[in-house]
C-alpha cells in the first residue's frame, strides 16, 4: 500500500536554515546539510529545501548545499525558490536534486513547465502554488507571496497538471507560519480537481494538523517546517502519531 509522506521543509537563506513567521522575522536555525541528514536518518520520506530569498540574492550557495546533501541523504530531495528557467532546473538536478519546485516562473510562463516536464520527466517537476483566500476563492501569489496575480488557484492547479507537473505543492499564505493548521478547504478542493498528488503546506502547529491534511485535505503528502525544526516533534513521533490514527505511513 502506498504510504502518505511526511516532508520536513528547510527554508534556506545564504546557505543557512531559517524559518519565518509569515515570511518575516527570520531566525537562524542551523546548517541545512546536517539538518537534512538528521531528518533522513529520522525517517523523513523526502526532504525539501526552499531557497526563500533566491529571487533577490546570489543563488550559488544553494547549489553547494544541494550537492553536499545529495551525497549524504538517500531519500528524495526537492529544491525550490527562485527557479526561473529550464536551465535553472537542469543545474539543480545536476547538483543532485531529485525534484525541483517552481512557483513564480510557472505563473509567468507555463511553457517552462511544459518544456521541463518533457525534458526531465514529470516526476521531477513540482509546481508550488501559494494561495490566499479572497471571499470564497483563492488567489495565486508569486514572488514568495509578495505579488498578487488575480489568478484563481483551482484553475491554475488544473492548468499546471495539463502542462505536465508531476505534483503540486499547495501553500496557504493565510496559514503559513501561524501554526493553526492547513487550509483544509483549499487542499481538498485542489486535490479533488486534479489527478496528480498534492503536498499540503502552510500552518502546521501540531500533529493533528498533519492528520487533517491527509484525511480531510486529501493530500498525498504533508509538508511542515517549524514543528520539526525547533524540536517540538521528531519525524518519528509524527509518524507514530499518524499510524495511531490509522493513516498509512512508512515506519
Amino acid at each position: 500500500m502506498l504510504k502518505n509522506r511526511i516532508i520536513p521543509c528547510l527554508d534556506v537563506k545564504n546557505g543557512r536554515v531559517v524559518k519565518g513567521i509569515n515570511f518575516v522575522d527570520l531566525k537562524d536555525a542551523g546548517d541545512p546539510v546536517e539538518q537534512a541528514k538528521i531528518y533522513s536518518d529520522g525517517g523523513a520520506d523526502e526532504i525539501c529545501f526552499l531557497d526563500i530569498t533566491a529571487s533577490n540574492e546570489n543563488r550559488k550557495t544553494i547549489y553547494e548545499v544541494v550537492r553536499k546533501t545529495s551525497e549524504k541523504c538517500f531519500v528524495p530531495l526537492t529544491v525550490g525558490g527562485g527557479v526561473r528557467s529550464v536551465e535553472d532546473i537542469n543545474k539543480l538536478l545536476n547538483c543532485g536534486a531529485d525534484k525541483v519546485s517552481i512557483n513564480t516562473a510557472a505563473v509567468q510562463n507555463s511553457d517552462v513547465i511544459v518544456e521541463s516536464s518533457k525534458k526531465f520527466g514529470s516526476q521531477c517537476i513540482v509546481v508550488a502554488i501559494d494561495a490566499k483566500k479572497n471571499n470564497e476563492k483563492w488567489e495565486v501569489f508569486t514572488h514568495g507571496g509578495r505579488n498578487k496575480t488575480g489568478i484563481d488557484a483551482l484553475d491554475f492547479a488544473k492548468k499546471m497538471e495539463d502542462c505536465g507537473a508531476g505534483e503540486l505543492l499547495v501553500t496557504s499564505m493565510d496559514r503559513d507560519g501561524t501554526q493553526v493548521g492547513y487550509d483544509i478547504d483549499l487542499m481538498s478542493k485542489i486535490s479533488t480537481i486534479v489527478n496528480i498528488p498534492i503536498i499540503a503546506s502552510g500552518g502546521v502547529g501540531n500533529l493533528d494538523h498533519l492528520v487533517d491534511g491527509i484525511e480531510k485535505g486529501k493530500a498525498s503528502a504533508v509538508l511542515a517546517a517549524s514543528i520539526f525544526h525547533y524540536g517540538k516533534h521528531s519525524i518519528k513521533e509524527a509518524k507514530e502519531y499518524l499510524d495511531s490514527k490509522g493513516i498509512p505511513v512508512r515506519i
Binding site: 500500500m1 502506498l2 504510504k3 502518505n4 509522506r5 533522513s40 520520506d45 545529495s70 551525497e71 538517500f74 531519500v75 528524495p76 538536478l93 545536476n94 547538483c95 543532485g96 536534486a97 531529485d98 518533457k118 525534458k119 526531465f120 520527466g121 514529470s122 516526476q123 521531477c124 508531476g166 505534483e167 489527478n195 496528480i196 498528488p197 498525498s220 503528502a221 512508512r250
Partner: protein, 208 residues
C-alpha cells in the same frame, strides 16, 4: 571491479551516481560514461532512466553503437546489468508512452499506463510503497518482504513470462517492481532514493 553507470542523457542521474559511490565505498570503481569500450570492459552495468519511455529509447539510439554494445554485454556475454525505473521498462518489447515505441526486447512484455480506475488512484504513483517479494532474487538479498521502496512512475511493466517477476507492489493492481532474468535485473522503484534498504539492493548488485 568496474561498475559502469550508462550516461546517455536520460535525465538526472546524480542520485544514482551518489548512491553507487556510497555503496561501493572505495572497493569498487564506479564509472559514469557512454564510452562503448568502457562499457564492454566493465564487469557490471547500470542502466538508469528518467522521463518517458520514448525519450529514453531515443536517447539510447542517438549514441551510435550503444544498443549493440548493451546487447553484447547483457545478452551475448551475460554479464550482470541492472535497469532502474525506465531503465527496467526498456527491457520490454514495446512501450506506449507518448507513442508506440520499440524497446530492447530483452524481457518479453509491454509497458502500459497504470490503470487509475477513473481517477481513484493518483498518477504518477509517487512515494513509498511496500514490495511483495515473490521469489528469491540476488538483488533482494537481506531485504525483508514488505520493505518500503520509493516509487515515481505512471507506466508499468507487464512481462509475458511471469516467472521473471521477483517482487510486486500494490497500487491500483499488483504492479511489477522487481524482475530477474538470468543476468538481467531491474527495479521499477528507485533504490538510489530508498534509503538504507535501497543501498542494500545496490550493494547486492555490486556483489553479484
Amino acid at each position: 571491479m568496474n561498475v559502469t553507470i550508462v550516461d546517455y542523457n536520460s535525465g538526472n542521474i546524480s542520485s544514482v551516481i551518489n548512491s553507487f559511490k556510497e555503496a561501493a565505498k572505495d572497493k569498487v570503481n564506479i564509472e559514469v560514461t557512454a564510452n562503448l569500450n568502457k562499457i564492454k570492459s566493465s564487469d557490471k552495468v547500470v542502466l538508469p532512466g528518467q522521463g518517458s519511455f520514448k525519450s529514453c529509447i531515443d536517447a539510447l539510439n542517438s549514441i551510435k553503437g550503444l544498443v549493440d554494445t548493451l546487447n553484447e554485454f547483457a545478452i551475448n556475454n551475460k554479464k550482470p546489468l541492472l535497469g532502474i525505473c525506465v531503465g527496467l521498462q526498456m527491457f520490454a518489447d514495446i512501450g506506449y508512452e507518448e507513442t508506440e515505441t520499440k524497446g530492447l526486447g530483452w524481457i518479453s512484455g509491454k509497458i502500459s499506463k497504470i490503470n487509475n480506475q477513473n481517477g481513484k488512484f493518483k498518477l504518477p504513483h509517487i512515494g513509498w510503497n511496500q514490495i511483495n517479494i515473490l521469489k528469491d532474487s540476488k538483488i533482494l538479498k537481506n531485504v525483508e518482504n514488505n520493505s518500503h521502496m520509493y516509487f515515481v512512475h505512471s507506466y508499468e511493466f507487464i512481462p509475458k513470462d511471469k516467472d521473471v517477476i521477483s517482487a510486486t507492489t500494490e497500487y491500483s493492481s499488483n504492479i511489477v517492481c522487481s524482475v530477474e532474468k538470468e543476468n538481467i535485473f531491474g527495479t521499477q522503484f528507485h533504490p538510489e532514493k530508498s534509503d538504507k534498504l535501497g543501498l542494500q539492493i545496490i550493494n547486492n548488485f555490486i556483489n553479484i
